[in-house]
Amino acid sequence: MNDRIIFEDVSKFYGEILGVNRVNLSIPPGITSLVGPNGSGKTTLMNLMTGLVKPSRGRIQVLGIKTDDPERLFKIVGYSTQFDAFPRGLTGFQFIYSYLSLSGIPTQEAERTAWEAIQRVNLVDAASRKIGAYSKGMRQRIRLAQALAHNPKVMVLDEPLNGLDPLARAEMIALFRASAAAGSYVIISSHILHEVDVISDQVILLSNGYVVAEGQIQTVRNEIQEHPTQILIRCDRPRELAAKLFESEYMIEASIHKDDRGVLLKTKDADRFYLALNQLALNGIQIESIAPADDDVLSVYEYLIGNEEVVR
């Protein structure tokens, strides 16, 4: 398949240290987030995807291109690394321009493209200042600019939201969405789960070098059978509602929400429960909202990996 990023039984060992093991993935266009604790293999997966490390076993193809073919691969891939690593003395513009030159883009075109990328990350005013004088957020932006400067089809971004203030995060997320909407593949690694939840089309959950789940977050959640789905029903008379709900055979547990304005319940089959809920005579109880309470990344992450490393 030439329209996906494909990992086929990929393993990477650094000597005796496990990077990732037996990874099989097929990543579609859109925003895909890699989620996992430190050392789970997120950066290794990104380095494998960009050909910076070679797999010990297995095959990787990025839109049909093998990762050991940099001349073709890096025409369509842009990589923003996790580390602050800038050659000394360069201005923001020179930084982007020099790496475009290394990519083989001729002088005038590189100059034009560099300015365009700087505009996209909103750093025009600071472009002629040295990177050494940039704030952390500005460094993050300029790093992002070098990754998207040549308009790559695949953007691999390692912790791209680190160090950004809320406004800048919103701007970056808008940028990722715009790229994804235009048909790009945006691969993001992040520890900040609530943001991942908001921006991702699909997630890949990693733990100790293994992929523990992959896909749209709701689909992944539905497949976790051992943890009943939680649903929060907001209403004016939660106690009466809870008593009624126990008539349903799909109901396992119910508790009154701490603000006394809702019922948090657990069900073993959410779809059937919703159908049954319609048929229950609710005796005039005013239902304000019904929403799943644990089909977000954080919950899925905790169910699958445990909550030791979760950053909220």
Partner: protein
């Protein structure tokens, strides 16, 4: 922030030739080197002896001027010994230049973890090493064989085609002798800076390899009563090679062939060490 809603549109124009991309590194690194006043000063100092040689060539070809000074015409002879001395002086200066300029080429990139930035382009490790070593290669050429060849041409223009034809082999010796010296210095400087990742320590280590290597060689020879200790002394090995290239008489303890093999071996080891370190990612255990 301005977000441009646009369809995917990659750069589709022609790319520069693959072979020429290492010159981007050369350009930036060289500019960075000459930001240092000390290095610029040292670079200028490197041309004092060639200028003195130029004056000597002029004098050697001006019998009337020498006569005015009361000196015989054979007081200054421009031959293989003259160029050997030029080579020796410029070789020492090239070493000093390397000790100050070389370690700063790679160690900052490694210390800052910048290599992934280079290698997530259509740019290989070999091109990276070539780009960085070309800075030293060209810089050291400018102070070794280039002035040597220019002086040879000036002497040939004074002395005539007969002298030039008889001594043409000196040009080959100048170029070959310089290139092997440049190669070993560049490789040593870059390999050491890649391993210690600290510019100042790498510079000190380069000085230590040359000076302590010579001391260690002497110690080995004295204790074991052998001559094989000279293989630890890179300066001695180069002296053997240059003496042979400039056809100078000598009583050196090892042969030119052995010295060549030892130097090429040192270069290979340095290159191997360098390629082990110049990777996009390093696993720290």
């Amino acid at each position: 922030m301005a977000v441009y809603r646009r369809s995917y549109r990659p750069y589709s124009g022609t790319l520069t030739k693959e072979w020429s991309r290492f010159l981007v590194l050369f350009r930036y690194s060289r500019r960075n080197l000459f930001r240092s006043r000390f290095l610029t000063g040292l670079f200028v100092l490197c041309f004092f002896y060639p200028i003195a040689c130029l004056v000597m060539i002029y004098l050697a070809n001006s019998a009337s001027f020498l006569a005015k000074l009361g000196l015989p015409p054979e007081f200054i002879t421009i031959d293989n010994s003259f160029f050997f001395h030029l080579m020796s002086v410029q070789g020492v200066l090239a070493f000093l230049m390397t000790a100050f300029a070389g370690p700063g080429l790679i160690s900052p990139d490694l210390a800052n973890g910048a290599l992934p930035l280079y290698f997530c382009r259509p740019f290989s490790r070999a091109e990276y090493v070539l780009g960085k070593s070309s800075v030293l290669g060209i810089l050291l050429s400018e102070i070794t064989w280039v002035p040597g060849v220019i002086l040879f041409i000036i002497q040939a223009s004074f002395a005539g085609t007969g002298w030039a034809r008889n001594n043409l082999w000196i040009v080959g010796s100048l170029i070959l002798g310089s290139l092997i010296w440049i190669a070993i210095l560049s490789m040593l400087a870059m390999a050491l800076s890649a391993w210690v990742k600290w510019r100042i320590v790498a510079g000190a280590l380069l000085l230590a390899v040359m000076f302590f290597g010579a001391g260690f060689a002497q110690a080995v020879n004295a204790v074991l009563r052998i001559d094989a200790g000279h293989f630890f002394d890179i300066g001695y090995l180069m002296a053997v090679v240059w003496t042979s290239l400039f056809q100078k008489e000598n009583d050196l303890a090892i042969s030119a062939g052995q010295a060549w093999i030892a130097i090429l071996l040192y270069c290979s080891v340095c290159l191997w060490l360098l390629m082990r370190k110049v990777r996009a990612y390093e696993v720290v255990r």
